[in-house]
Amino acid sequence: MLETLKLAFEYFPDRVSEKSPDPAVREVALLLKQRPMSLFSRSIHVRMVDAGSPNDVELEEQLMMAPRVDAERFGVHFVASPRHADVLIVTGPVTQNMRVALIKSYEAMAEPRAVVAAGDGACTGWPFKGSYALAGDGRVESAVPVDVKVPGNPPDPYELLAGILKAGMIIDQKRKGKSK
């Protein structure tokens, strides 16, 4: 019994509070306050497309879904197809060979939708800007419209989560604009 309790605490998720020493955690707490959870709506379904990152942002996304950060408790859920997704996370820089796949993934999404560019490569094309193998300048913006940028080499799980929550707010606005 004691062993089980001990284990439960060992795998307990982080506390997300506005007083946390980590600025990314504070930002997530603030965003959750601005866009509170509700029982049957407001979850965010996310699809990711790796358009050229060295796997680092993907590893951080995996950890975002793992028990410590546990984004699922805030309604963030990764889905298998862009057709099921509200938000597309794109990591970059966008390569020539991935450009078509990225555009097709974006076009498969239902409206309203939002795109998050995650990582320095996705935001600026760094450090391969000017390479023959990139699609244009390598920025995700040059291939599909971007709503939220999350810079970082790579951004940590809480920074990514904050980016997704911001994208959720943008989708809310887009939906409101449509219904008017």
Binding site: G52, E58, L63, T95, A101, Y132, P154
Partner: protein, 522 residues
Amino acid sequence: MTDETKKFSGIIQKSLKPGAIEAWEDRGGCIWAALRQGDLVPACKACMANGAIFDSGFVSSRPGGAFEVSYLFRVPAMGRMLILRAKGKEFAALSATVNAALWDERKMQDLTGLKLTGIPDSRPLIFHPESGMPDKHPVGGKALVRQKNDDYVIKGTGVEGEFELAVGPVHAGIIEPGHFRFHILGEQINKLETRMFYLHRGVEKSVEGKAAIEILPVIEQISGDESVANGVAYCHAVERACGLKVPERAEYIRAILMELERIYSHLSDLGGMPTDVGFTMSASRFAVLREDMMRLNRKVTGSRFLRGMCVVGGVSDDMTKEKLSIITSTLTDFENRLAHVERFTLESSTYLNRIFSTGAVPQKAAADLALVGPVARACGVSCDLRRALPYSAYPDAGFRESTEKTGDVLARFLVKLAEVKESVRLVNWLASHMPSGKLQCGPAVAESEEPERAGAGWAEAPRGGCAFLVELSEDGKIRRLACRTASFRNWRGAENLVPGDIVPDFPLINKSFNMSYAGTDL
């Protein structure tokens, strides 16, 4: 030159025409052999017949439209890396007889526009005709002429009733892009062809003409969870080319970083295998351990991926006593928790049933395809570069290699588990024996009168050995960088060894191989 080296060169010389070997030089831990153009392939075969293990093939351009082709071999008899090179305009393909060299040579053709005679598969590898190709070949600058009908054709085995299953490039999970084409008969896979290079960013080309000391951020972008290993291998290549002597303390710190990287990287595989069979309880526990290790990384280096620490000539930041004690105390706690998760996972009979005998790699196939890393070690091929070609602080630390016999997913799981434990032991040993001294050697890459400076570097990354070849110009800039990661070797293993298994086993086998797509595609 050591006796073993002399003996080996004698054997090779005997099996070739007189005068085939133009130079045989022992420099920077490697043997550099210059050969006549026509004797390159026979020399490679002679080396392999005498126990040399194929490592990789690289190409660089020479003035006057000529190219230099280099083949790297690991020679256990000499304990050295052997580099066979030849200059010329036309080459025969080694892959006509050595299957392992196929991707290396297809890549060479794409990079340079060379046509290697007798290559079994002449389709483009790194360029995708349907996505658009550059105007000229990246190495040498020859104009790229597109073939009239250059569709990428993937053929099946021709068995009646076989159908195709296409997967990717965008996958369902949180992973990188690649295209798999299964030719299946019911559930059984008859043939698998992988199409990679969706993440080809032109790493090798984009560093050309830049100062050798400035491009480490680019090297760290080759593959996320091998940042340190690639960085160290690259630094060793440059340091060997310039004859730099790195302080002992820096090498100890590098070794600690490499082992910390191996721990978090292996934890992601160890958690990935249970994930792919639906054993979430175990996967979550491994994920928590990984998150905690990455938080430790950030605490001691400022980067969760340990980036920015390794620089040419040493390391950029010190490992103080306080940091070392944080690492060792965290690792003590980590060991206990890992033992608990290990017991929990391996006590599950359903999990063991699922991974036992799945995706078995025969030892002979591993040797034929020159597989590296935990994949090769799981079927009894001893190939750990920390032991085979010692570098950094490993000769001091008394490294123990872990191997298994069966080559299935279970064996890979056990090898990786054993390696994590060995890494913990190594970090503790290195931390307690840390020598004092400087962090960097003097002027890193100085200008030199020497016109041709070249160096090779290697390291045992979490996924297996990687190799770098660096050519420097007189002013310390990169003339050519060639890189081969472990994933580039092992992808063909997955492609060749999956047939015979069933489709639902593929994700599991793929995860147990755990190859980096970005590291393959560069």
